[in-house]
Subunit: 371 residues, 2 copies
DNA sequence: TAGAGCGCTGAATCTCGCC
DNA sequence: AGGCGAGATTCAGCGCTCT
């Protein structure tokens, strides 16, 4: 139908325009993006419920900032409608193995979390950005508000595949797994964008470190990261630095201008330096039988359990025998240990002149030959 | 009207029964409490965890899951109905200068926060309980879930009067303002209640120091603290220690029995004892990856061993590469030295105009930023 | 006796690809 | 789409035993 042509043309063009900032209303521009075209969404939505400026009802009428209870309810409701509208579009444009991160404070983050859950996203973690240097509460009326909350959620419940660079973060954290609380300083000093008059360009510019960690954890080089509230482009800067693509949406041209200049100054890291610690799961699979086939073990050889008191014999097809028990290295290990499962590669040892060594060493030798 | 007499009698009696545990359904008993009779509510409701099958540690031991009947809900809607019902009653029984604290994890805390806001409570802070020793993520699928979230809210918006012992907390916190993130260990060891068989009495007993800090912050001696999900009585124990009254509601008589015995053992503390519950500031460590994240080192930069003849390149995730070897600063250092372990912070140097310096200097710089 | 070492455990939405 | 099987996966603290 020809009347769809112009729209389609727009969709195509927008889909391809990576690494640029699209100036306009968030939802309008989101609607021009095709389904399942984005790997990751990072959203730092407005949350000034009281100030009125950023919050409009879907019909674009402005929410009155009145103090009475009824209006307070109305304003939460309006915020929820606004939230669900952009969030639903983000869900649509996410690939089936995609995920979303949102950030907020106690003013709005509960509403973001419930919206995610109600729309069918599946929360993986909430993550605390613990500010090293927060602004004190001058009046002494509350606790120093020293953190913000991020929520990481996959597109759908039961989603099998999603990106999480577990081993990269573990290396980052000196070999202990990364926790849900991150200590990161505020965006200040050199990093904070200032205009000609020396005033900060954006009131809530996020530290690039924060986005760096999000993208390092939940995306791969070459992935497309969408930020529907781009602001001064922290997401874009971190994406470029880490070799990811970005799609930015921002309705304020001044912010967009500063963001463009900022991102232009960012250096992308070299391809090889963007590599991170890989997971073992991603390594090529070597069946145990290949060790026998390659002559690294002979049919009839004996394998020993870690403590050495129990043994099994290797058969020609790569199965093991221990008395009546037969099966794979994993199965026989699990049965001997009466455990629900067992990694036979690390469980079983073979005898060498230098003592007992795990059969995993032999697998490593085979994998190395593959190079 | 005489037919109201019996009910009124119950109300009066219940209203006066302080420092006891009322066994029965939460909402039923709440309804028997008079309006505006309570200074503070602390609520640790079921989290609606939605766990799947069994979970085993890498050593094949089974994780003792929270699979109790009381944590099962048919849907988010059912959970929301349940939440709003008990929360509305809590709001009714709160004095006009009263406040509520609730605690939850990402499974339920967003729904708690939205319910509070929708019912007209006014959120003062969200507070993070940073666990010193959380259970790891055994399968390497997410971030270690290392915190829970508490929400502090007053009974109503615009409430002028509420209790916040700013100076007491500041003193408690070594003369700095108390922040919204609290580092507190899990409830383990001696403190954890065990039954005759040595099994834990309650699956989710909270540390007393957590309640201690809440009551110290938001109540006065003599105040009445209501806990509608009393469990094994951590709120009651902290209340007694601090000279507050409590009203406990618990539907499980076994929990209630243990709580009674526990609280009977508690001594009301004098000032000097209270100081010993003091806060130990647990500053989070700065992992090597944070240096790359913050731009103090770039992916691709070279590090040098003490003698300078061997080098490694820094990657985006803070891992190092030396030929075929990859890993954390510690691992690569150890492999190069053929040592069982290595402190990468003192081993590796980076080049400056003033010669080579240990990377530990960069960590010091990051730590300083936090002040 | 002090210290090393080992075992146990904690609110957990905890695999993935192939057939 | 469900079942099967390979094989990957943990941190800190407490309390006990052993030297």
């Amino acid at each position: 139908m020809t009347r769809h042509m112009p729209q389609k043309a727009i969709v195509q063009r927008t889909a391809l325009e990576l690494d640029t900032i699209h100036v306009g209303e968030c939802v309008d521009i989101l609607k021009s993006l095709p389904d399942k075209s984005v790997d990751l969404v990072f959203a730092d939505p407005p949350y000034n419920l009281q100030l009125g400026g950023d919050l409009h009802r879907p019909d674009n009428s402005k929410v009155d900032a009145v103090d009475d209870e009824w209006d307070q309810f109305a304003s939460f409701e309006a915020y929820d409608r606004f939230t669900r509208e952009w969030m639903r579009e983000c869900q649509r444009v996410l690939k089936d193995d995609g995920a979303i991160w949102v950030i907020g404070s106690y003013h709005n983050v509960f509403r973001l979390g419930v919206a995610l859950q109600d729309l069918g996203f599946w929360v993986m973690n909430d993550v605390i950005w613990r500010k090293a240097n927060p602004m004190p509460n001058f009046k002494g009326t509350r606790f120093t508000n020293a953190h913000e909350t991020l929520i990481w959620a996959t597109k759908a419940k039961g989603q099998k595949r999603y990106t999480f660079n577990y081993d990269a973060l573990k290396a980052f954290n000196e070999d202990t797994q990364m926790r849900s609380d991150w200590a990161i300083p505020l965006c200040t000093g050199e990093e904070r964008l200032k205009d000609e008059d020396g005033n900060k360009v954006h009131p809530t510019q996020k530290p690039e470190s924060l986005l760096y960690r999000v993208l390092l954890a939940c995306s791969k080089p070459g992935h497309v990261v969408l930020d529907p509230f781009f602001g001064t482009g922290t997401t874009g800067a971190a994406a470029k630095r880490l070799g990811r693509h970005f799609i930015g949406i921002e309705r304020d041209e001044t912010y967009a201008k500063h963001a463009r200049e900022r991102i232009a100054r960012v250096q992308r890291a070299n391809e090889s330096d963007l590599a991170t610690m890989g997971s073992k799961k991603a390594e090529p699979r070597v069946p145990f039988g290949a060790l026998v086939e390659a002559g690294l073990l002979q049919p009839g050889d004996t394998l020993y359990c870690p403590k050495g008191q129990r043994t099994a014999r290797v058969r020609a097809d790569g199965s093991l025998v221990h008395g009546e028990l037969t099966g794979s290295i994993h199965k026989v290990g699990a049965m001997l240990e009466q455990a629900p499962s067992c990694n036979g590669w690390t469980f079983w040892r073979f005898k060498t002149d230098a003592g007992f060594k795990p059969i995993d060493d032999l697998r490593a030798r085979i994998r190395q030959q593959g190079h």
